[in-house]
Symmetry: C2
C-alpha cells in the first residue's frame, strides 16, 4: 500500500527498520551471503524500496557499521570510570575483546571486511567524542597513563602506543574470528591467548617497577 506523505521522523524510522533487519541478517550469516531481496522481505517491503533510503548495499553496510561503532563505544564507556589509569587501560582492552568475540560478525563487518575507507566527515558519529569514538577512548586512556608516568621512558608517542595496543587486541580477536576453526593450528584456549597478550602488552609497555602491583 503506497500512500503519500511521509514526515522526516517516519522516514528515519523506516531507515532504522532497514538497518536493524539488515544487521541481524548480516551478523547471522555474513554480508556477502545476504541479499537485498531478503532484507526487504524481512520488513515487508520490496527490494527496490531499500534503494530509496540507501544508495546501495555498501552504503547500507556503512550505516550499520556506524551504529555498531557507537555500540562499541557505548559498551566501553563504563570502563572509563575505573580510577587507576593502568587498570583502566587493561580493562579497555578486555572490554574490546569481549565485544569482538561476543559479536564476531559485527566485528568482521567493522574491522575485517574490505570496504571504502571511513571518512569522519560523512559519518553520523562525532570523532573525538568519548561517548561515540572508541579509538578516542583508547587514545585518551593511553594519554592518561602516559601523563601519570607509567609507560617506559622511551615511549612518548601516544598515537603510536594506542595503535600498537589496538593491534595487539585486534590480532588476537581477528585470528580467532577468522581462523579458530582452522585445523592446521592447534589453537590454545582463546581466553588464555587473550590473557597472555594482555600480559605481554603490559610488560612491554609499562615500567618494570609498576608491573608487580598491576598485573
Amino acid at each position: 500500500m503506497p500512500p503519500k506523505p511521509k514526515t522526516d521522523a517516519e522516514r528515519q524510522q523506516l531507515r532504522t527498520l532497514i538497518i536493524d533487519a539488515a544487521r541481524e541478517l548480516f551478523v547471522s550469516r555474513g554480508v556477502e551471503a545476504v541479499t537485498m531481496r531478503e532484507i526487504a522481505k524481512r520488513i515487508g517491503y520490496s527490494a527496490t524500496s531499500i534503494y530509496l533510503y540507501f544508495a546501495d548495499k555498501e552504503a547500507l553496510l556503512r550505516a550499520i557499521c556506524d551504529t555498531d561503532f557507537l555500540a562499541l563505544a557505548t559498551s566501553l564507556k563504563n570502563i572509563l570510570q575505573i580510577a587507576h589509569p593502568v587498570e583502566r587501560m587493561h580493562a579497555l582492552g578486555h572490554g574490546y575483546a569481549e565485544f569482538a568475540l561476543a559479536h564476531p560478525n559485527h566485528y568482521r563487518m567493522m574491522f575485517m571486511t574490505e570496504r571504502t575507507p571511513c571518512d569522519p566527515a560523512e559519518s553520523s558519529l562525532q570523532q573525538n567524542n568519548a561517548e561515540q569514538d572508541a579509538y578516542y577512548q583508547l587514545k585518551t586512556v593511553v594519554a592518561e597513563v602516559h601523563a601519570a608516568g607509567y609507560f617506559r621512558v622511551d615511549l612518548q608517542d601516544v598515537d603510536l602506543i594506542a595503535q600498537t595496543i589496538w593491534a595487539c587486541m585486534h590480532g588476537v580477536c581477528s585470528l580467532q574470528i577468522n581462523m579458530a576453526e582452522d585445523k592446521w593450528v592447534q589453537w590454545s584456549d582463546i581466553s588464555a591467548r587473550l590473557q597472555l597478550m594482555q600480559t605481554v602488552m603490559m610488560r612491554g609497555l609499562l615500567r618494570e617497577d609498576n608491573l608487580k602491583d598491576l598485573i
Copy 2:
C-alpha cells in the same frame, strides 16, 4: 580446438596456468571482484573449462592459498639459519610482516578472507615440514628460544607463545591492510608501528636480563 589425449603432466600444467592467472587477478583486484569468465579469458579458455580442474571458485582459491602458504614458508626459510635463537625469532616476525605488506592481497586471501577452514589432510602442503609450514617454523623457533631459557619463567606453553607472537604481527599487518586508508585514525608510520610491536613483544616475552643485549 579440442583434440584428445592429455597426459598427467599436461593436466598439471594447465592447472597451474589457471592458478597463476587467477592469483594475478585476485591479488590485483580482490577475490570477489574477479569473475570465472575473466580468469578463463586470460588464459584463452572458456569459463566452464576451469570447472574441469577445480570444483568451484572456493576450491580454486584454496589451491592458490596453498601455493601462497608455500611461498611464505619459502621466503622465511633463510631466516631460520640465523644463529642466535632470539635474533631468529625477531627476524621471523620481521620477515612475516615484510611478506604481508609486500603482498597485501595475498595476505588478505590467506588470513583475512572468510573461507571454509583449512584441513591439513586435504592440503597439498606437509604440516610440520620446516620448508612448507610457516606456523611450524614459528613454533620451532619459539621452542628453541624456550629451550635456551630466554623466556620469562612463567611462560612455558610453546604453542600459546607462538600464537601470541603470531597475533602481534597479524594485528599490525591486518590493521594496516584493511584500515590504513581510513581517515578516522591518524595512523603512525607502519614501520614505526611494526618496530614498536616487536619491541613490546620482546620485552613482554623475554627475561629482563636478556633485553639490553638483544634489542
